[in-house]
């Protein structure tokens, strides 16, 4: 799961269908879908959002959504 990666770790998105419909659509708008490589840049404290990088752009999403996106560690 993307939410399980530590800061600095990389992965490839395997399945995104568990995430909320809206989040999925927005990630798709940003060009992030199954097959995209992502890197966790930082994790904010107290269960706060995670900042991920994919194809050179940075995006913030909530931890609980990140926990619903399957990734394969790279």
């Amino acid at each position: 799961m993307l939410g399980k990666l530590k800061a600095g770790e990389k992965g490839r998105i395997m399945n995104i269908s568990g995430a909320d419909k809206f989040v999925r659509r927005r990630l798709l708008d940003l060009g992030i879908a199954e097959g995209s490589e992502v890197c966790v840049k930082c994790i904010l404290p107290f269960g706060g959002p995670v900042m991920i990088e994919s194809c050179g752009q940075c995006i913030g999403i909530r931890r609980k959504e990140a926990l619903r996106i399957e990734v394969e560690r790279a």
């Binding site: 930082c42 904010l44 959002p49």
Partner: protein, 670 residues
Amino acid sequence: MMNIALIGNPNTGKTSLFNNLTGSYEYVGNWSGVTVEKKVGVFKNGEDQLIDLPGVYTLNPLSKDEGVVTNFFLNEPFEKLLNILDASQLRRNLHLTLQLMEYGAPVIIGLNMLDVAKNRGIQIDIGKLSEALGVTVAPVVARSGKGCDELAELVTGDFVGMGKTNLVYYGKAIEDGILRLANMLDGRVKLPIRWLALQLFEGNSYVKDYLVKYVAIEEIESLILSVADSHFQLSGDKQTLEQVIYRKRSETIDKIVAASASRKDNKKVPLTEKVDMIVTNKFLGIPIFLLMMYFMFMLTFDWLGFPLSDALDAFLSGPVTAGITAALAAAGSSQFINDLILDGIIAGVGGVLVFVPQIFILFFFISLLEDSGYMARVALVMDRLMEAVGLNGKAFIPMMIGFGCNVPGIMAARTIETPKERLMTILLTPLMSCSARLPVYALFVGAFFIQHKALVVLSLYVLGVVVALILAKVFSKTLLKGETSLFVIELPPYRMPQARALWRSTWDKGKGFVKKAGTFIFAGSVLIWLLAYAGPEGANISMDDSYLAALGGIFAPLFAPIGFGTWQASASLFTGFLAKESIISTMNIIYYVPDEASLQGLMAVHYTPLAAYSFMVFILLYIPCLATTATIYKETGSKRWTAFSIGYALLIAYLLSLAIYQGGKLFGLS
């Protein structure tokens, strides 16, 4: 004259390009969706108009902000499109471009951020890109303006091509569906059918609502279902039409990118990521944000703003007043005119103008935060806290803008996707202490809290935020239950703020304040002075017998329990509804003083420090000003919510001031 629409993804430099093409003073920012309104500028050729649309990733909208763009394509006339692309994010940007080409209007592409792409090892062959799309592509550097003149010439010129309207083949099922929709509409719609059909199949609700005007909704829905079904029959894949359309576009884009861009690996860590490691750090993120806020307030109120305002005050009450007095004497004007100008207008308008330096410093910092890209990080850092009260991190941006002025703050709430969170943000943004409230604080802290000026003012700003957060929690548990909160935010790369853009942005925000002083405050000052000058017993009487005193006196007893039961205070609170800074003009007129310093001296007689703090808290919260109320009405479209925003604010302000004043007295403060 031609109407040309400027369209592109968020954070592609669209607003900078708009400024450079039109040469107008325009608002430049960097957080997702800074362009909340439709803005129109005139090209430097003095003829054609450029319409700035909000940044969108696709024409199928998620937020109200994005809906503005879809509505524009459905309902507004325009001749050409100018599509700005971020070269470093070509793939994602082209999704929008393909939809524009399906629309079939003449389009020119401005390719921005080639330097960023180059730093990331991406080389783009502009000729090949142009050939693949079938439209003209011109390189620009939107921030510096390089290439903008050539682009302006191209786009206002006579020969602008349409591009290839069917670059993407969507498969037999969808292509047949397009034809079927064309048959159903039977030439009754002027808009391009292919575009309408594809947007409809993608689930664009705006397009669906548009089509329902021509075809029965059952027919439309059964068309969508049968296209989805026939796609499944023909291909056997279970993807939704939305996914299929996205995938087909992606495949075409891959081909275009493969033909026109090449990439070398570049292992260098970009500066943006290094900065982000610090400012969004687990432990340092929030402290850094608070430290920056503290620094901003110290500069605005203490280190820089205060001495500047003092100097301006001395100038206005000294040479300027002396000059006007002399001019009036030379013109031989009557005593009435003399009093009106010196005690009414100069006291009223001058009292507000004195704060121009502080307000500009504050606006400068807000512009700096937006323009550098830090604002989006603030949203990220604050999201956890905002989530706890039922909002999301994006709601923090309208609130920050609200520190400058509540009106643009409330409009900025349009970028929030969920209706509930948007409504809450609109209702709570007026609690953010806007710059017009600042003169009131500046006056009172100068009179009572000279040792701790910035801290006392900061406490008021913090109080506004804390009250807003508590109310958000209360509202989301009671009035606005349900609907989950969502948060996805793009964090644009940091950009070195440019002096010119910063100045434009600061001036654009601050000029309203100066303008208001010359119009609203001017007229208000005349009115207040007249009300104070005349009374039931005639003109030129003692002010305690004036209409103003009588009017204020009615409500004064109400304010006695919270520490300021004088007619002067309640009269100024009335004018404060029109514009918060007119509280100061009213006081200047009522207390009949030539400058800020002597007004502060007088205040010490009429207020205790505790009453002064209670008064400031009341001013902070008690009512959104007239312009803000009008904006709330416009944005919510509901009289009920507008009335609610006034009602709850009055109640909270009264209760808090009561707690502070009576509580303070219990603890022996005065």
